[in-house]
C-alpha cells in the first residue's frame, strides 16, 4: 500500500521539462504585459483563454480533468444533485450488468468512459459528500463549477424529451444519455474487448423535428416561400428503417426528399436559357376530390458530359471505430470504387481520414492513376486511436490546393454520424463550411449505417456547404447517388434557389405545401440575397406539391369570415404566380424567373401521379392528418399505376416499401 503512495510520489516528481520555445514565448509575453502594466494602460491583464493545440500525452486525461472542477464544494442546492448522482450510479449494478458489460464502442463518451472521475460506487459518492461538507469555505466560482458537475447526471433521465429540440441539442442528448452506463464498469473498458458489430447501445440518432405545414388561408397569407431541397437522404433512411422491420421515426420522414428521390422526365431548359426550367401541372388530389394538387417541377440543365469542368474531389472519410460494420466503411469503400470509373483522367482525387489513420491518406492524385487511388482506399481502416482532429480543415486545404480556375472543388464527407472533424463548436462548424462555400469549395455529406446517424447535422452541414446529403444503405443506393446522378451531385448549376408562390385568392381559397417544413423561408428572405438556400446540381430535378382548394368548395377547412372578408379584386384565371430566384455558382446577386400557374385540362402524367403517391406515402408515415379515408391500399394502387418505364427500378422498389409499411403499420 505504501508502495503505491511512493509510486504516486515518484510519478509526480518526474514532471516533464518545460519546452524552451514555449518558455521563451511565455516569458516574452509576461514582460510585454509587465511593460504595459507599468505604463498604466493595462491595469489588470487577464489570462487569455488558450485552447490546447496539440493533443499531447495526456489529452484524454486532460479533458477528463478539466471537465470536472477541482473543488467540489457543493452548496446546499448542488448536494441534492450529488445525491441523485449516488442513486443513479447504484441502480445499474445488477448481476446482469456485471456479467454482460454493455459494449460502449459506439457511444461511450471519453470523459465518462473511465469510471474514475465519477464516483463509481455509492460509497465513493458518499465519501465525496463528506469531503464536500468538510470544505465549506470557498468562492462562488467554485460553486458554479460544482453545479456544472452535478448537473450532468440528473439530466440523463430527462434526455428523451430533449429530442424535440433543435438540431444542435441532439448532440447534447447523445452525450448525456449514456452517462450512468459507463460508471457501472469497475475498470476502464479496454477498447479491444469490444465487438463493434454488436449494437446493443441505445439509439443515438437525431432527426430534425418540424410540424407538418398547416393549411393556409389565401386571403390572409397568400405567399408561400421556401428553399429548394435536392437531398434524398430521408427516403434512404425510411427505406432502411422499413427493411429492418420498423416504421421510421416521424422526424426522419421529409416528404420533399422522398418525392425528389425519383427521377422525373421534366422538360430540360434549352441552351442559352436559365439553368433550370419550371413546369407546372394541376391535377385532382388523389386523397381529396374537393381539392387540387399543383405540382411544380424544376429541371436543372442536363449536363453536357463532354465539356464538364475538371473536378477536384476530396473524400473526407470517418475511420473511427464505429465505422467497422459491414454497412459502413466497407460499403463506403465499395461506393467510392464505383465512383472512380466515372471520373475523367484529368480529375483529381484526394483522401483524408479522420479519427483514425490520421490525416492525408492520399495526396491529390489524377484520376487516371486509379491504381494508387484504389490502393489508398484499401488502406483505410476503421478503429485508429489517434484523433485526426483537423480532418475537415485539412480536407478543405487540400481542395483549395487542387482547385484551379474553372474547376469544381468539392469535399465529400462520409460518416456514420460522428462529426469529430476538428471544429468543435457546432456554430463554428457551420460558419466554417459556409465560409468555404463562399470561397468556392462545396461540401456534400454521405451518411452510412444506422444507430448513430445524425440526420439533422448531416442536413445542416450539407445545407451550409451547398451540397446534398445522401444516406447510403446499400450498394444500389451508392450507385444511384455516385454513379447515375454523379453530375448532379458534383456540379452545381444554380445556388441559393428559392421558390415563392403567390396564390390568387379568386381561384385558390386555401393551400397547403406538402413537405419542405425544414426549408421554409420568411417571405422577405426571398429577395434577400444574403439568405442562404438550396443548390441545384446539373441534371437535378426538384418537385414541390401544393394541395389547393377553390373558393366555395365543400373541402374548405376554414369557414369564411363573417366580418372583414375581403372580396378578391381580380378575375384573373391564374391560380397563382411562381417566382424563382437563383444565383449562378459563385455569384452574389440573384436572378429572377417568373411564371404564372394556370390550370390545364391535360390529364396528369405518370410523373405527377407518382409524385402524388409518394407524397401520400410520406403523409401516411407521419400521421395522415389531411388524407381522410385514403390509405395504404390507395397509395399502393396509385404508385403501381404510375410506375412508367422505371428503368432503374426505383419506383417498383417504392411500391414494395409501401407494402412493407402497410404490413408494419397494422401491427
Amino acid at each position: 500500500m505504501t508502495e503505491d503512495f511512493d509510486k504516486l510520489r515518484d510519478g509526480l516528481r518526474k514532471a516533464p521539462g518545460a519546452d524552451p520555445a514555449r518558455k521563451e514565448a511565455a516569458l516574452r509575453l509576461a514582460m510585454q504585459n509587465f511593460d504595459r502594466a507599468h505604463q498604466g494602460t493595462q491595469p489588470q491583464p487577464r489570462p487569455i483563454p488558450v485552447r490546447p493545440r496539440n493533443a499531447g500525452l495526456f489529452a484524454g486525461v486532460r479533458t477528463m480533468l478539466s471537465r470536472l472542477t477541482t473543488r467540489p464544494i457543493l452548496a446546499a442546492t448542488t448536494s441534492v444533485a450529488a445525491i441523485c448522482l449516488g442513486l443513479i450510479v447504484v441502480l445499474p449494478i445488477t448481476p446482469t450488468d456485471l456479467t454482460t458489460p454493455k459494449p460502449l464502442a459506439e457511444v461511450a463518451p471519453a470523459p465518462e468512459a473511465t469510471p474514475a472521475p465519477v464516483p463509481a460506487t455509492a460509497q465513493e459518492a458518499v465519501a465525496d459528500l463528506a469531503a464536500v461538507s468538510d470544505a465549506a469555505s470557498d468562492t462562488a466560482g467554485a460553486v458554479n463549477g460544482a453545479v456544472a458537475t452535478g448537473q450532468k447526471v440528473p439530466a440523463a433521465p430527462t434526455a428523451p424529451s430533449m429530442t424535440r429540440k433543435r438540431v444542435q441539442d441532439g448532440q447534447m442528448l447523445r452525450r448525456e444519455t449514456y452517462l450512468p452506463q459507463p460508471s457501472v464498469a469497475p475498470t476502464p473498458i479496454a477498447p479491444a474487448e469490444i465487438d463493434p458489430g454488436v449494437q446493443t447501445a441505445p439509439d443515438t440518432e437525431a432527426f430534425p423535428q418540424a410540424e407538418a405545414n398547416p393549411i393556409k388561408v389565401t386571403a390572409q397569407d397568400p405567399v408561400s416561400t421556401f428553399s429548394v431541397d435536392v437531398d434524398t437522404a430521408s427516403y434512404a433512411v425510411v427505406r432502411s428503417s422499413l427493411m429492418q422491420g420498423q416504421l421510421p421515426p416521424d422526424g426522419a420522414v421529409r416528404i420533399e426528399e422522398m418525392v425528389n428521390y425519383f427521377p422525373y422526365t421534366y422538360a430540360a431548359p434549352a441552351v442559352g436559357e436559365a439553368p433550370f426550367k419550371s413546369s407546372v401541372t394541376v391535377m385532382p388530389t388523389p386523397w381529396n376530390p374537393g381539392t387540387q394538387l399543383v405540382r411544380i417541377g424544376l429541371q436543372g440543365r442536363l449536363p453536357a458530359i463532354a465539356d464538364r469542368p475538371a473536378l477536384n474531389l476530396v473524400f473526407l472519410v470517418d475511420t473511427s471505430g464505429s465505422m467497422q460494420n459491414a454497412d459502413k466503411l466497407p460499403l463506403l469503400k465499395q461506393s467510392l470504387r464505383l465512383l472512380l470509373p466515372q471520373l475523367r483522367p484529368e480529375d483529381e482525387v484526394a483522401i483524408v481520414a479522420y479519427a483514425g489513420s490520421a490525416g492525408e491518406v492520399l495526396p491529390p492524385t489524377r484520376a487516371e492513376n486509379s491504381a494508387a487511388i484504389l490502393d489508398a482506399l484499401d488502406r483505410l481502416e476503421a478503429g485508429g486511436s489517434t484523433a485526426g482532429a483537423e480532418g475537415l480543415e485539412l480536407a478543405y486545404r487540400l481542395a483549395e490546393k487542387m482547385g484551379a480556375k474553372g474547376e469544381v472543388s468539392r469535399v465529400l464527407l462520409a460518416t456514420d454520424g460522428d462529426f469529430n472533424v476538428g471544429v468543435s463548436d457546432p456554430d463554428g462548424l457551420e460558419k466554417f463550411i459556409a465560409k468555404k462555400r463562399a470561397q468556392g469549395t462545396y461540401l456534400s455529406v454521405l451518411g452510412f449505417g444506422r444507430g448513430n446517424l445524425d440526420d439533422a447535422v448531416m442536413q445542416t452541414l450539407a445545407q451550409s456547404g451547398n451540397g446534398m446529403a445522401a444516406y447510403i444503405d446499400t450498394l444500389q443506393e451508392a450507385r444511384k447517388v455516385l454513379v447515375d446522378q454523379l453530375s448532379g451531385a458534383l456540379f452545381p448549376i444554380a445556388d441559393d434557389v428559392k421558390i415563392q408562390v403567390e396564390w390568387n385568392p379568386a381561384q385558390v381559397a386555401e393551400y397547403r405545401l406538402i413537405g419542405y417544413e425544414t426549408r421554409a423561408l420568411a417571405r422577405e428572405d426571398f429577395n434577400n440575397d444574403k439568405v442562404d438556400a438550396g443548390e441545384i446540381g446539373a441534371g437535378h430535378a426538384v418537385t414541390a406539391l401544393y394541395e389547393v382548394t377553390a373558393p366555395g368548395s365543400t373541402a374548405l377547412a376554414n369557414d369564411p369570415l363573417r366580418y372583414g372578408a375581403a372580396t378578391p379584386s381580380t378575375d384573373s384565371p391564374e391560380l397563382g404566380f411562381l417566382r424563382l430566384r437563383y444565383k449562378a455558382p459563385g455569384e452574389t446577386t440573384s436572378a429572377l424567373i417568373e411564371t404564372p400557374i394556370t390550370a390545364s385540362d391535360a390529364p396528369a402524367d405518370e410523373d405527377a401521379r407518382f409524385a402524388a403517391a409518394i407524397a401520400g406515402f410520406g403523409q401516411l408515415l407521419t400521421g395522415a392528418k389531411y388524407l381522410g379515408d385514403w390509405g395504404w391500399q390507395d397509395a399502393i394502387a396509385l404508385a403501381q399505376s404510375a410506375r412508367g418505364e422505371d428503368a432503374f427500378g426505383y419506383r417498383t422498389e417504392a411500391v414494395n416499401l409501401m407494402r412493407l409499411a402497410q404490413s408494419l403499420s397494422v401491427q
Binding site: L27, S66, A148, A190
Partner: protein
Amino acid sequence: MLMETPDETLALAAASGDRSAFAQLLARHYDRVFGLCWRLTGSRADAEDLTQDICAALPGKLHSFRAEARFSTWLYRVAVNAAHDRRRRAATHARAALGWGEWEVNRQAAMAEAEDAQDWLVAAMTRLPPELRDTVALTLGEDLTQAEAAAILGLSEGTIAWRMAEVKKHLRKQAAEEARI
C-alpha cells in the same frame, strides 16, 4: 558568488515597476510553475498553456503580493487558482460547445491512453477526486508540508491531513480492484 536576492525582495521591487527584478523572478520560477501545472492538469500541452496564462497575468497580480507570505507560497496559490479557473472555463466551454463529435475525439484519445499500461500514474491520478488530486500535487509532487499546502489551498491543516488519509484509502481500494482483475 553573490548571495541571491530573496524572492520576496524581487517581488516587491517588481510590483513597484522594476523590470529586471520581474524578469529575474520569472526566470527563477518558470520551471517550477510549469511542473506544478503539469501535476495539476496531467497534460504537457495544457501545462504549457496554463503556465503561459499565469505568466501573462502575473504583472497585474503582483500588486496583491504582500510580504507576509513567502513568494513561492503566493505563486503556488496563483497557479492553483489559475488552474481552477481554467478547468471551470473548460467545463463551461464543454457545456456550451457540446460539439460535434468532440467526445469522440476524447474517447479515442482516452482509449489510447488507457491502453498504455505504463500510465499507472494517470490512472491513479484520474481516479482521485479533484480536490484530492490538487492536494497530492502539492504535497507529494511539490514536496510541501501539509501546513504549506493548507496555506496555498486556503484550508486548515487538518483538512489536508484528512485528505491525505483519503488518498491512501483510495490507493488501497484501487490496488485491491486491480488485484481482483
